[in-house]
Amino acid sequence: MRPANEAELAEAVRAANGPLRISGGGTRGIGLASGEALATGGLSGIRLYEPGALTLVAGAGTPLAEVEAALAAEGQRLAFEPPDLRGLLGRDGQSTLGGVAAANASGPRRVQAGACRDSMIGLRFVDGSGTVIANGGRVMKNVTGYDLVKLLAGSHGTLGVLTELAFKLQARPEAEATLICRGQGAEAGIAALTAALGTPFDISGAAWLDAGATGADARTQVRVEGLAASVAYRAGRLRDGVLRNFDIVEGEASAALWREVRDVTPFAGRAGAVWRLSVTPTLAAGVVAAIRAAGHDDLAAIHDWGGGLIWLLLPVAGDAESGDAGAGAVRDAVAQRGGHATLMRGPAGIAAFPPQPPALAAIEAGLRARFDPRGILNTGLMG
């Protein structure tokens, strides 16, 4: 089904007599959801764009590329740097704004500018009963009633089908520069990220990629953005200080380094299970070491967000349909140190989303029962 507007979509949900599998462009959905496909692509188009107020409202089916092009024309962008995971997940098609929001998809700039959910200021959605619900609005500051915008962000279509979204925007900076160093080990590399993030130099990206990810030397990279003179000043101060002897790359060369991290390009087209972990940055190297020690010495890792966001490629485990994708090792390592892990790519039998502690699981189940009483929206996906 591909409704042409919100009313049709609501009607389709009301009329559904079995599970629905919701898809925007089908480019970033993870895990298992079964049922009849319900595509949001018909709800497309930018409805309001005010560059002077840094706000945009668009249909949930609007292609991300269309939004990004419109913003670029005014020298603006989505602050949270949404990843393009098509290569990683082996999909093609058009990523949509609704898919980005439903996955709370956030890139390297998360450490400075917040996640997708932090840029979301309003939305409309259709719940599992076919009721249209609005929350938030088109203004940046709004505490009127409960914040369902955040609740729906990252709910992967399990509480409702997003139909319209409002975002706050950011001006594109005049310049960017990346400080880069090759050959540091995990501990040293992440320590460098930590040191950089502890300076007043407004870091907008901090990542370390191991040799298995780069295919050559490990790479430590730290980004600053802003007015040209300010970027030069801050890059210089970092290189004279906590990032001594790092090289500086600018402009497109710098941007390319971050696209690679954002889109997890090093793992695209390589066989194996792919995990995404969010942990306390200074514990990140230990988490990965523990997973290695548990029989996954062949893994490759990319640490973003100052080290705390870990993308892991487990070559053997995830390949075979029968494998456990390393789930035992990954979830144990995270459970011991705090955080959560999601299986982004792997065998169908393994739950993609992290199990929640019982008290929170009960609340989540309560919310699902009320927003989707028939249990038809991406059934069983998150819990």
Binding site: D127, V143, L151, G198, P200, L227, L309, G338, E364
Partner: protein
């Protein structure tokens, strides 16, 4: 302002309740004598007062859980309280409620500069969070003007903002985790020092839920390294429209000031008379603050000056040093106090799309004449969060009611132009009955479902946020 009838069954069991509470908490943590309870009869919305049945001041999550289990079993409503600075009546008691104050829970539990977070008990004041990390070069970004007094608990409940939220965001953007006790006494741990909690974003919905979903006892907050420096510039214009255009041009130019504050003529006049900050007398005044090293600041100010000059400012004043910077902020920071000197006032908090600014200010001016009450406007221009201050005389019969009616019209206007009822102060009791102006019945129902899940008996701060008629059946059940 209607509040629900106190439950006689609860009132009649006061002695039993007090005795049971004494079994759970040290003697000085249970307040039940009438005079002592007066301290809890209102928050900063002082027009409404009602002493609670009992107030308790626990010192730990365990004590909070014990109190909540007791109240839950006895069917006693609970109103959580931080420092009582809410301007929306969020912490207003009912006669049959227990006020659960977290003021004694003010410790720092953990500071971690490498991972850039601090974990505190929720009764700690906002300013003292920054105070705990400042010497090491860090700060906690959300900075409500009430930061000397207000508690992190209240900040989380109201999703409070501050002057610097244009760059750093509001509370929800700086909150990493909470320990929260549900009305049934269950302790929930949500989030932590890592980014973006797993599962549904419960943290996102708890922040801003005005004490209706649970009692927050501990919080993990993001801290940031302090910028090298910051300086404000002040500019005056001879029309509100022009100031509005200037704000829009600064934003479009891609400059990211940490704050853009706006004051109109009535506000400038009142603050001048009170604080003598030396502001120019003009129709509209902007204070724009930028951050960075000296050279970075100079460059940003040069660009802002270039933009401002295109709008023919009547004044453009740079701060050469700390002292001049302080003087530029002086008037703005004393604006509320200045108003309080000359009059009683009601502080509104609607947000509008920045582009509607001239229209909204014109309409407020017209309505001011219709209602016969003066208004001074001071607001966060970068994000459209307005604080019109309506001046009235509390001793004059009918003035408060007229003021409230006028305020309601202004807030409806905010909604009409695409904005909202409250940008940072919260709904509380003050804007409760206006919620239907912003939300359709289905939109409200969706919010009530959340409360149904966290607090099925509707015992936690039950008379707030939603119009009473909308929640009546749930509260009665």
């Amino acid at each position: 302002m209607d509040m629900p009838q106190a439950n006689p069954a609860v009132l009649s069991r006061k002695a039993e309740l007090v005795a049971a509470l004494h079994g759970l908490l040290p003697g000085d943590a249970v307040i039940w004598q009438e005079e002592a309870l007066r301290a809890y009869e209102c928050d900063a919305l002082t027009a409404y007062r009602c002493p609670p049945l009992v107030a308790v001041l626990p010192r730990s999550t365990e004590e909070v859980a014990a109190v909540l289990r007791l109240c839950h079993s006895m069917g006693v409503p609970v109103v959580p309280r931080g420092s009582g600075t809410s301007l929306a009546g969020g912490a207003l008691p009912t006669a049959d409620c227990v006020i659960l104050g977290v003021a004694r829970m003010n410790g720092v539990l953990e500071t971690d500069y490498d991972n850039r977070f601090i974990r505190v008990q929720s009764g700690r004041t906002n300013l003292s969070v920054t105070g705990a990390v400042e010497a090491d070069g860090f700060f906690y970004a959300p900075d409500p003007s009430s930061q000397l007094a207000c508690a992190i608990a209240g900040n989380i409940a109201m999703n409070s903002g501050g002057a610097h939220c244009l760059k750093y965001g509001v509370t929800t953007n700086n909150l990493l985790g909470v320990t929260m006790v549900t009305m049934a006494g269950e302790v929930l741990e949500i989030g932590g020092p890592w980014l973006d909690a797993g599962g549904l974003d419960l943290l996102g919905v708890i922040c801003g839920s005005e004490g209706q979903l649970g009692v927050v006892t501990e919080a993990t907050l993001r801290i940031l390294p302090k910028p090298e420096g910051a300086l404000p510039v002040l500019m005056g214009f001879d029309a509100n429209e022009v100031a509005g255009e200037c704000v829009s041009d600064i934003i479009k130019a891609g400059l990211l000031p940490v704050a853009i504050e706006f004051m109109d003529r009535p506000c400038i006049e009142a603050t001048e008379a009170f604080a003598k900050a030396g502001y120019p007398m003009c129709e509209a005044l902007l204070i724009v603050e930028v951050e960075g090293s000296r050279a970075e600041i100079d460059e940003q100010i040069a660009r802002i000056r270039e933009i401002a000059m295109r709008h023919n400012p009547v004044e453009f004043r740079e701060a050469a040093d700390e002292d001049q910077a302080r003087r530029i902020w002086l008037g703005r920071k004393s604006a509320f106090g200045a108003m309080g000197q000359i009059n009683d006032y009601m502080c509104l908090d609607g947000t509008i799309p920045v582009s509607s600014l001239p229209h909204v200010l014109r309409r407020i001016g017209e309505m001011s004449a219709e209602f016969g009450l003066d208004v001074a406007n001071v607001f966060h221009a970068g994000d459209g969060n307005m604080h019109p201050l309506i001046l009235f005389d509390a001793n004059k019969p009918g003035d408060l009611e007229r003021c409230e009616a006028f305020g309601a019209e202004i807030l409806k206007l905010c909604v009409e132009v695409g904005g909202c009822l409250t940008g940072e102060h919260g709904v509380g009791i003050e804007k409760r009955d206006l919620m239907t102006a912003q939300y359709a019945p289905d939109d409200l129902e969706a919010q009530l479902r959340i409360k149904d899940v966290f607090d099925p008996e509707w015992l936690l701060n039950p008379a707030k946020v939603f119009p009473l008629h909308v929640t009546a059946s749930r509260r009665a059940a």
